[in-house]
Amino acid sequence: MQLKIQYYALMREQAGRSEELLETSAATPAALYGELAARYGFTLMPEQLKVAVNSEFTDWSRRLSAGDAVVFIPPVAGG
């Protein structure tokens, strides 16, 4: 299925892009992160991240659907 992935901050720099459409068989955010981390060499561990699907926080074990927009969220530093 096809997913839309958006990258922010450190992960945007490491991925070298802000977003992409990705053809994947990853069924969950956890599996998807494994795939992307292998490709881009992300230095952040999944335990340090949160994940959002369609602009809302969600679980790492959520079933992904075609067309979902996925964002992995590095440790935040607003303020």
Binding site: K50, P74, G78, G79
Partner: protein, 149 residues
Amino acid sequence: MRFRLTSSAIDTDSARRELLDLGAGGYVSFEGWVRNYNEGQEVIRLEYEAFQELAAKEGERIVAEALQRFPLKHALCIHRIGALDLTDMAVWVGVSSVHRGEAFDACRFIIDEVKHRVPIWKKEHYRSGDSGWVNCERCAAAPIHHQRG
């Protein structure tokens, strides 16, 4: 919208006016300023980046929580994004209430929660030429230093 993102300077006078209330006796505001040192490095400028859709939602939830937890009149938070220089205002929180105690508590609650929960990131640029994403570089498995040029 009681939580807003802006890419231009925060207009605190206008924001404060939204909190005026005939029944409010106390008003507390917080401003986060870009300072010149962080963890021993000399900072020369910053960039803030947000996952805007979710930042707006989560920020709005935080202000709504504050309004539920504390007996307030009004509360508002505005966060700047983009490039900032030293002493620029990165974030503003304002709260009005009948008595001052809850205004202090709620203002602090909002800024604490915003810093922990809202998907906004800060990249510091240092005098040394290095730069780094705050909270991301040091805790990453393999810290990265971006050399100038």
